[in-house]
């Protein structure tokens, strides 16, 4: 727990230093995307990692947030500091609606029905031309007024600061959730739904809480994205976004708060770096996904956790008890164990 908190604080502190060192717009853009994806991956991880249900419909919330921010600011002239939180709230409402239906299902049914919801929303965005401007999307989402006469670099710095603040809020909320009674209840459901139920933990309540929180965070990320890119189209709901999010969560290690951050960092840079390989890029990406599933099923954090555990066990065996009961090892051990949730569902 302490290791996790220090890790998160360290990541945020390092991220806060970036704009003081980096003055290159391209690098700053990548850094902003890393933060944006870190928020998304963190929000998805709440559902995938802590409730243990595999949601493929997370783009529903991202897209809802992005469209909400775009419509509110272009048609109603709301300022950015208002649209982004409202986008989060609207996405959370959407999360509650979708969750009320989908969270009653488990396993492959949950996967497919969440995916269906995202597809339905994409079709709505594509066809409800009066509201969303259809396949053309909504262009020219306004930038905050204060950026009007500032340069491009200052704009990038501003957006970096906003993204950083969003990530800080996301990590704070997720941390509080995960280490609260509600978070522990969610983990209990993930580990064994029936045992959790038998001791009075209601699966629907806690998985709903995690889903709504995740939806809120990704809705805000969507709102941010709408302003930053200043264009929103139906492709926000596309499966491609979903794939990036999943890969980030899984490379980093689901069910850990640090994992998605590492995943976001790694995947965003990898995608940028592999751009050189152009057409081959996505093929390599596919192979990478397969390799992760086969060789690193618990992600990098799970891998690190296992090594740490083994080292502690080895040193504990040699010098007596104290090393083995080191507090950070305990939660790691729980996470490194393969989750039986999939088999039970």
């Amino acid at each position: 727990m302490r290791f996790e908190r220090n890790g998160l604080l360290g990541f945020l502190a390092l991220a806060a230093l970036v704009p003081f060192v980096v003055h290159d717009q391209y690098v700053l853009h990548i850094a902003i995307m890393v933060l944006f994806y870190a928020v998304l991956a963190t929000s998805l991880n709440l559902v995938v990692g802590y409730v243990g249900e595999f949601s493929l419909g997370h783009t529903a919330f991202l897209g809802t947030g992005a469209y909400a921010a775009a419509i509110l600011s272009t048609q109603h002239g709301w300022p950015m500091w208002l649209t982004v939180p409202v986008a989060g709230v609207l996405a959370a409402v959407m999360g509650a609606l979708i969750g009320a239906i989908t969270l009653r299902l488990q396993g492959p049914f949950f996967v497919i029905v969440t995916l269906s919801f995202a597809e339905v929303l994409r079709l709505v965005a594509d066809n409800w031309i009066g509201l969303t401007n259809g396949p053309m999307g909504i262009a020219g989402v306004p930038q905050p007024a204060m950026l009007a006469d500032a340069g491009n670099l200052a704009g990038k710095h501003f957006y970096y600061a906003v993204a950083w603040a969003l990530l800080a809020v996301s990590l704070y909320l997720s941390y509080r959730f995960v280490h609260s009674n509600a978070g522990r209840a969610a983990v209990a459901i993930r580990e064994n739904r029936y045992v959790a139920q038998s001791i009075g933990v209601r699966p629907l309540t806690y998985s709903m809480l995690a889903l709504v929180l995740g939806a809120f965070l990704s809705g805000m990320a969507g709102g941010f994205y709408a302003h930053y890119i200043s264009f929103v189209g139906p492709e926000m709901f596309r499966f491609a976004f979903m794939v990036s999010m999943i890969i980030m969560v899984l490379i980093g290690g689901k069910g850990t708060l640090l994992g998605p951050l590492i995943g976001a960092l790694l995947v965003t840079f990898l995608e940028e770096y592999l751009r050189e390989a152009k057409e081959l890029r996505l093929s390599i990406f596919g192979l990478a996904v397969i390799a992760i599933v086969l060789f690193l099923p618990q992600g990098l954090m799970g891998f690190a956790g296992r090594r740490r555990e083994r080292r502690l066990a080895a040193s504990g065996g040699a010098s007596g008890a104290p090393g083995a009961s080191d507090p950070p090892a305990a939660p790691r051990a729980g996470q490194a164990a393969p989750t039986p949730a999939g088999r039970l569902a």
Partner: protein, 290 residues
């Protein structure tokens, strides 16, 4: 009235195509419990290989179909033995990811190989129209429906009447007991996956002769196949057929009378309703699979 009949006929034709493209998935998802997101890509590979066999190799349609079936069967077998085998007991999640990775890889590698252009598979018969009273259908479509029916019957017979089929059913009821009585379950799993792959790729080639084979079609096919499988209930042959026909007719009527742009939403709406009210499919009586 005539228009309604025409819509119904179109819906039934499209529906039987849906049924065939979902059949491979119902085997893999319903029996093996692998949520196969690469299903659409297997279908796509069938179409692309069919194009290659009929136009580049100059084979006729049926020899091409046989070639596609053999090659894709071997491919499916290898995928199962080398990839899916290793994550067999890790729940759905690993399977979902693995097949997503596989689908990204296959789609983009195929894109590198043949490009984005639609590819025409040489059809075995001409696309001239046939008239049944007020209804017009092309002969090619009727032929395809017949092949669909043939393939569906052949797979049903394989599952229910052959030794391999019996081994499959035993394995999916209780792998441990099946092993105890001497069934090589690893081979049975591989054979099931290979069979699903063969059906998917044959569907891809057959429908590639009517529409066209296209590299980017995979995602759409996967989604439609999931819809059909959920509607019909996992692992049920009759369910896949009924689900396919239902989807086809519903889409045709909706497209004809309400709005063409929203056609794709029908399937997803049906899936959501089905899963909420009858999660084991519209037609399954028991809640638990065998």
């Amino acid at each position: 009235m005539d228009l309604l009949l025409q819509y119904l006929a179109n819906g039934l034709v499209t529906g039987s195509f849906y049924a065939l493209s979902a059949l491979g998935l119902t085997l893999i998802l319903g029996l093996m419990r692998v949520v196969n997101f690469a299903h659409g890509e297997l279908y796509m590979l069938g179409g692309v290989m069919g194009w290659w066999a009929t136009t580049r190799l100059g084979l006729d349609f049926f020899t091409g179909l046989l070639l596609v079936a053999v090659v894709m069967g071997a491919f499916g077998w290898l995928v199962d033995r080398f990839l899916i085998e290793r994550i067999r007991d890790q729940g759905e999640e690993a399977g979902i990811l693995l097949t997503i990775g596989l689908s990204i890889f296959l789609a983009n590698t195929a894109l590198l190989a043949v490009g984005t252009a639609p590819l025409k598979v040489e059809a075995p018969i001409a696309a001239s129209p046939a008239f049944f009273g007020p209804i017009v259908l092309t002969k090619l479509r009727l032929f395809a429906v017949a092949v669909c029916a043939l393939l569906i019957v052949a797979s049903w017979l394989t599952i229910h009447k052959t030794r391999l089929g019996r081994a499959m059913r035993a394995t999916f009821q209780d792998p441990m007991a099946a092993r105890l009585v001497g069934i090589r379950t690893a081979n049975v799993y591989a054979a099931t996956f290979a069979m699903g792959t063969v059906i998917a790729s044959m569907a891809g080639m057959l429908l590639g002769s009517i529409y066209s084979a296209q590299v980017s079609v995979g995602g759409l096919v996967s989604m439609k196949a999931f819809v059909v499988v959920i509607l019909g209930g996992m692992g049920s042959f009759a369910g896949a057929i009924a689900g396919g026909l239902l989807l086809g007719v519903a889409e045709a009527l909706w497209g004809g009378y309400v709005a063409t742009g929203w056609v794709d939403i029908i399937g997803f709406a049906l899936v959501i309703l089905t899963l909420v009210f009858r999660p084991y499919g519209l037609f399954s009586r028991s809640a638990e699979r065998a």
